[in-house]
Symmetry: C2
Subunit: 134 residues, 2 copies
C-alpha cells in the first residue's frame, strides 16, 4: 500500500469528531497516572421495578453534572451468566476522576448530596469498588 505523506494526520482526524462530540455527554476515558476509578453497584428495594430503576437512572444523569467527574457510564446487568458473575444488581455507575482528591471532592459536592437525599430511598444496598493504578 502506498504510504501517504500525512497518514497520521488523516488517521487522527477520523477520531476527532466522535471523541470531541462525546466529551462529558458520555464517556471518554484516557488513562493517565493517578486516575481514580469509582464503580458503584446499586440494588433497588423494589428490584425489577421499572419506575424505580428509571428514577435512579434519572438521578444519576443529574449527578453526572458534579464538577470533578471526568466521565461516567450508567449500566445495567448484561445477559451473561456464570458462577463468578454477579448479575443481581440493578444499576451500575462507573466514574472516572483525574485523581483521588477529585473523588474526595465529589463525595461532598452539593450535587452528590442532593442525589443521595432524593434517591437513597430507592436502594437497599450499594457496593463500591474504588481503584487506582496497579
Amino acid at each position: 500500500m502506498k504510504k501517504s505523506s500525512r497518514p497520521s494526520f488523516l488517521g487522527s482526524m477520523a477520531l476527532v469528531t466522535p471523541f470531541t462530540s462525546l466529551l462529558k455527554s458520555s464517556v471518554i476515558f484516557a488513562q493517565k497516572k493517578g486516575m481514580f476509578i469509582h464503580h458503584v453497584y446499586f440494588w433497588l428495594k423494589n428490584s425489577g421495578n421499572k419506575e424505580d430503576k428509571a428514577k435512579l437512572i434519572d438521578g444519576l444523569k443529574k449527578l453526572s453534572k458534579a464538577g470533578t467527574i471526568k466521565n461516567f457510564y450508567i449500566g445495567q446487568p448484561a445477559a451473561t451468566r456464570r458462577d463468578v458473575i454477579d448479575s443481581s444488581y440493578d444499576v451500575s455507575w462507573l466514574l472516572f476522576f483525574d485523581n483521588a482528591a477529585d473523588q474526595d471532592s465529589y463525595q461532598t459536592d452539593p450535587v452528590h448530596l442532593k442525589f443521595v437525599e432524593e434517591c437513597s430511598a430507592l436502594w437497599t444496598k450499594v457496593t463500591v469498588y474504588d481503584s487506582v493504578d496497579a
Copy 2:
C-alpha cells in the same frame, strides 16, 4: 474573548496526540450504543503477597493483547474506606468491548485461556460484573 475563525479545529487538534498515542496501550473509552463493560475483581490466595500480585498483573498485561478488547485498566484498591466500599480485593481488571459478542469471543480467546492456565492458581476468588447500557 475574541472568537477564532477555527476554534473547534484547534481545540480538536489538542486532543489528537494524547488520544492516538494512548490507543490500546492503556485506556481510551468512547461510549457508544451497545458497549459492554466487564469489571473483574481478584482476591489472591496470598493476599498482600507482592510477588503474586506482580505475577497476576504481568498476566493481565499479556491478556490485554486479546483481540476483541477495546481498552483496559488494571487497578488496585484505593485508600478510601467507608462501609459501602469493598477494598478487600487485590487487583481489578476493567475491560471495554464494543459489544456483547466481542466479550463472548474474549472468553474463548486462546490468549485468555492461556492466562487462566498460567494465573488461576494465584487467586482464591473472582467476582465479575458485566454491564451494558442502562
